[in-house]
Subunit: 264 residues, 4 copies
């Protein structure tokens, strides 16, 4: 359906153009770039471009229901605001701005643990469907503390990031000698590298908040997640921003295995 001609933005390209003008070169490169020489980024694009619909006809589509559901909650369309670390680099409101947009439009928000204004500040910004995504940079007690705070502040589920054992190397940034300020401040990477299925088991034994694993990239790991009682699998290669030379998500999901459908 064509958008109204009164709206400022008519195509995605126009939004991209405006975003480019609003951002300094460093954050812009971080936003659009990927790991290493950006091979996975290109593969993701090609995978999206290769999708084709098989249009069926004469089905009476005068009344179409576009709503979806996640964790048994109705959502306006089957789309979620993905977690973005350092989102305050792009909009001063950070996660709180995304929370307000999430509430206004009617889709869930997944909040990254590495952005402002943080777990409590974001929860206070809007009464929305929200999920908390943690980069594990502390011990079990540190994780449990985050789970408790997430529950206390109305997060509907808890997500562990599992595809960032080592922080990515980005040639686009290196070539321009851009040092991400948020990387300089960060610590606790040893915990992230040591993350294992034992931690998943302990989480499920300890907490009853729905658990999501973000960054599953093989059918084998998807099956393991199911075996561990994980509630939702977030299939992703981190947008090509973490592991270079990964296969695209589409090649992966075409793997001949049906056993890892999300248990949402």
């Amino acid at each position: 359906m064509a958008a109204s001609m009164e709206e400022k933005f008519q195509t995605l390209q126009e939004i991209v153009k405006a975003a480019r003008q609003n951002l300094a070169p460093g954050p812009w490169d971080y936003l659009v770039g990927g790991a290493e020489t950006e091979t996975t980024l290109k593969r993701n694009r090609q995978a999206l471009d290769s999708i084709a619909f098989r249009p069926r006809v004469l089905r009476d589509v005068s009344k179409v229901d576009c709503t979806g559901s996640l964790l048994a909650r109705r959502i306006r369309i089957p789309v979620m605001l993905a977690p973005i670390g350092s989102i305050e680099s792009f909009d001063v409101g950070g996660g709180a701005a995304a929370a307000k947009a999430s509430a206004e439009f009617g889709v869930p928000q997944m909040l990254s643990s590495v952005c402002n204004p943080g777990l409590e500040g974001t929860a206070a910004a809007a009464d929305n469907f929200r999920i908390f995504q943690l980069y594990v940079r502390g011990d079990d007690a540190w994780v449990d503390d985050h789970v408790k705070r997430a529950r206390d502040h109305g997060y509907a589920a808890f997500c562990l990031t599992v595809d960032t054992a080592v922080y990515s190397r980005r040639e686009r940034d290196l070539a321009k000698r851009f040092v991400k300020p948020w990387r300089v401040r960060a610590g606790g990477f040893d915990y992230q590298a040591a993350l294992s299925w034992d931690h998943v088991k302990r989480f499920k034994d300890t907490h009853d908040i729905p658990l999501i694993l973000k960054g599953i990239a093989t059918t084998e790991d998807a099956a393991l997640a199911c075996d561990h009682g994980v509630d939702v699998i977030y299939v992703s290669n981190h947008g090509g921003r973490q592991c270079a030379r990964s296969r695209s998500w589409r090649t992966r999901s075409a793997s001949p295995s049906a056993s890892w459908a999300p248990a949402a």
Copy 2:
């Protein structure tokens, strides 16, 4: 066979160049553009480019019969003038000009219901092999009225458009803020969206004029059309102008099914 050097146009490129000079930017973009980001348009081009002949030799081709037939009528070559909505944007004569060309050359014309000078005006323009193609924007009585008028004015068959349940979004037009005048005037889209196989059944039960469905894109729907007694299936993705990200017509027709050959 090389065309005579006296003719003004020697190659398709020269015709395209002249057409470009004759048209205002809006209609030109509408003519050459497609839906969304024009992925299907590109796929159609690639599908055409991938066709290869298997030339057989020593077959005595001194007398070659290039005629074809449609609905049991002989035609000069197996080609039909496809229906073009708003054809008057490209030539002031609209459908009537196409009717005259159809008569002069000896191939059938399919007339779109959304162009000038309309069903009666076009029929009056030439004594040609003509078919009427309807965009269903009214109730059963409205359809039946068109069928009656088509029969009364010598149309040899009646075609229902089945691939336009929702009007396409075209970024080429949006980016230039081009508003198609003919869209502003149009209405009755609810009927088009609600079109179903029940309408096809009712049509066949009510009328005995040959029925064509335009926009069949899957073998499943082709089989359904045969089951409903449809006389001709018009395999098409609307030239990539309606459904973006569709497969090309060639990928489709390569599907392993032989059951949907046109019943012409």
Copy 3:
């Protein structure tokens, strides 16, 4: 083996560059162009580019025999000078110049019937291994006369062109309004279009000179040629210069049939 640095031409590109400077635009386009929009020409190039060797090692290649044989005669390398119509457009010596090169280097020449100085003039130019290639533009007596003249002038085999039933349409020439002078003079195309396997049968029943068919493009026709006792099959799509949208010769020869190996 690197060529001597004293030679004028070190790479094929340098020969191409010199040829371009020596020729008028019309003959140049005719030389490098192909039929219609040159799709087959591009496919041929891609087919050549896709060839890959499987290098075996430790085989003692200090003495390598590069000679080949054609029609039981030894040739320096398994290469033949292909027939070129109107070759006098590129070198004033025409077929005679090619004959001299053929004799000097030690590979066979196939002479096209549509070039200067003709069957007798070329035979007089050099004592080489030569084959005559006929475009059939006359009746049986006309063909028999050519066979007799070819035998009388030392041609080792006779070749019928079977892939030129209709002369090609070339957009490169049309776009530049280039009229090939040799086309204006030519006639007898009806005989070429009517050529059939009956003519092949009559040829084999009448003559005992080895028969070559040039332009076989399918395994089916190769099998037919074998059935008719044809001595050599010349697999070719005429360099993409006759039939547009043909498959490349490589796709063809990859067809799953072993029955049509040349009977040379």
Copy 4:
């Protein structure tokens, strides 16, 4: 892991840029170019670009062992400095400079027999893990002399080059009339062309130093090498610098044969 921002070179592109500025055009082309029209070179690049990882998650990678082993010796990472003929064209220290780097970093060096300062000079430069690679340009006694000298100077293994029976033709050099000085001086090519499996057998019967064959390109030859008791197979197409139109190493190693795993 991101490199320290203090280091001069942050990406491979920056190293390439500096190397380009340091070298004269002739050596540069020799360094980056390949055989003939460089088809194999491009295929190698495409083969590398097509590699994709299947990232597994939650595996506790806080302690990762990146060391490897070659000929039962521990090496820092599973990488070896490949032999480079005429390496002194790129760094005046030649093989000795590479030897020092090999010792400092902790990976093996394979020294080409056709570079400075030669077998003894290089061995004297550093106490590293070194292997000698011979281009066979002499008789058996000449080979045996090299083996003895290699043993006497601490080379851990001996490598025969088997993919250079004929020296490559390089259009990049020819087009610029660049004559490689080291080629002018070289001789003994007859021995190289005559190399056969008999020489491999004689080597294994005569010497007990581990034998490596460099340039195996087919599973058949890999199997033959195993049959002859070769200790290590060096799969390579010489970087596309010797045999043009070869398949890429990756296509080769994907061949369905498991029998030729290196016997290291």
